[in-house]
Symmetry: C2
Subunit: 303 residues, 2 copies
Amino acid sequence: MTMEFKTAVIGLGSMGYGMALSCLRAGQKVWGADINPDAVGKFAMAGGQGGAFPTDLNAVVVVVLNAAQTEAVLFGATGVVATLSPGVVVLGCATVPPAFAREMEARCAAAGVHYLDAPISGGAAKAAQGALSIMAAGRPEAFRAARPVLDACAQTVFELGSEAGPGSAMKAVNQLLAGVHIAAMAEALTFGMTQGIAPAAFVEVISKCAGTSWMLENRAPHIVDGDYSPRSQINIWPKDLGIVLDVAKSAGFAAPITAATLQQYMVAVGMGLGAEDDAAIAKVYARNVGLTLPGPRDPAAEG
Amino acid sequence: MTMEFKTAVIGLGSMGYGMALSCLRAGQKVWGADINPDAVGKFAMAGGQGGAFPTDLNAVVVVVLNAAQTEAVLFGATGVVATLSPGVVVLGCATVPPAFAREMEARCAAAGVHYLDAPISGGAAKAAQGALSIMAAGRPEAFRAARPVLDACAQTVFELGSEAGPGSAMKAVNQLLAGVHIAAMAEALTFGMTQGIAPAAFVEVISKCAGTSWMLENRAPHIVDGDYSPRSQINIWPKDLGIVLDVAKSAGFAAPITAATLQQYMVAVGMGLGAEDDAAIAKVYARNVGLTLPGPRDPAAEG
């Protein structure tokens, strides 16, 4: 008789949905949960389980927006931890403060449940391919219990420590840079436009020069194409850079570039761009100086 | 009889010296000039010509610090342009405002001399290998006259326009990003240290994640190694980001991330770090929060 590995994925947004599919593809039996019933229905159509979780889950993957939602799904009125058997593992994948991850580890341990501090990086496409980077930290037994999920979802698992915290710390470091790089790209691209440099020339030249970044190469083409359909939303950045600055404040650490960047995202939110792709930060700069960014491509015109 | 191509390189700093060597290697006869006689002597030992420029130069490559020095060597009391024959080309390689490049083109044209707006990118090692990126703009006849120098010095020549200006504009765009990325790397690395992330772990993980940049991969290892011998100096950045902000101001363009970054470099200059490698911007953050960065490696301890 084959032991079936049973996983629940809580949060079927763009990242969680891809991770749930990756677990399915690895042969696991996967339950999906989301506040949006359409997401659960879509996952059921793709081979997932809907409805109540079974009592013999092996792993719970929490891919919600933030610490408050993570705490609610784990320990709220209908929190899942109280229903889990000893030895089950919870993977916390949201971007949260390191101290929160340590608190979750302790509260799970009190319930006999393992906790892996496991923030994710790579975007929706890599989530769907099972090719994420996971910045993981936790006790050896948490890593052991989580291994089938890590194998299914990740191309690279960074093992950053033997208790929760360093995974979330590294994720915060990564988000600091990613958020700054997107906004700096927009600042440079629009500055170039004021000097007659077309966005397409900016991408072509700078992507081959010392000024390039992963985010520049990934996001600047959205501006060239005038395509702001959300792959990653503006709304992510006030949240994630806010976590960075909260953690920095607790450490007595001044982060002036991060702080200036956060303000630009706040302007974008104020302009009503929160649900657009984060490349829409360029619209803040364009509005301020009176530039017109490229419009959407017209497929009919491209023959 | 073979026509010998005669080039003068004015400014034998780390970039100019490498370009002069690259022209020599391509079979050109090369005169070097520098305010530092030791640099000229070193170049003569490597096969270059010292002493006065001949009257039949084909090209003059100006690789000095800024616009003021460029103007002085071209049009000052002993400026070279007055000595050049019609049809000779001047390559302006310093980082300068686009309007200054247009002015140099006009003043050279009045003397019958071609001007190529030709800022360079890639660092001293690529300069020595003849593998620079050159962001070039100028009239077709300026490109034609400069071709032997471009071929000798560059891996990639971006041809950005048919008059001077766009080369310097693109260089300013690149410097905006490069300067921000170095400082953001230092902000993130030291923030990570406050959360227990060692600099070596930072480089290992983030260089494989969405937060990476060309500058992070190039400069962060200097911090890990505690090696601040100058490959590119802190002093470059108040100058180059100052040009960016001056040009931005003329265009009515607000660049808050660049502005915040420039202030961090100013703190570094105030700490006496101006002549150190630009990775030393990390020392500003470390001092502010009371962190100790890695010291120099002890070769004796490494067996």
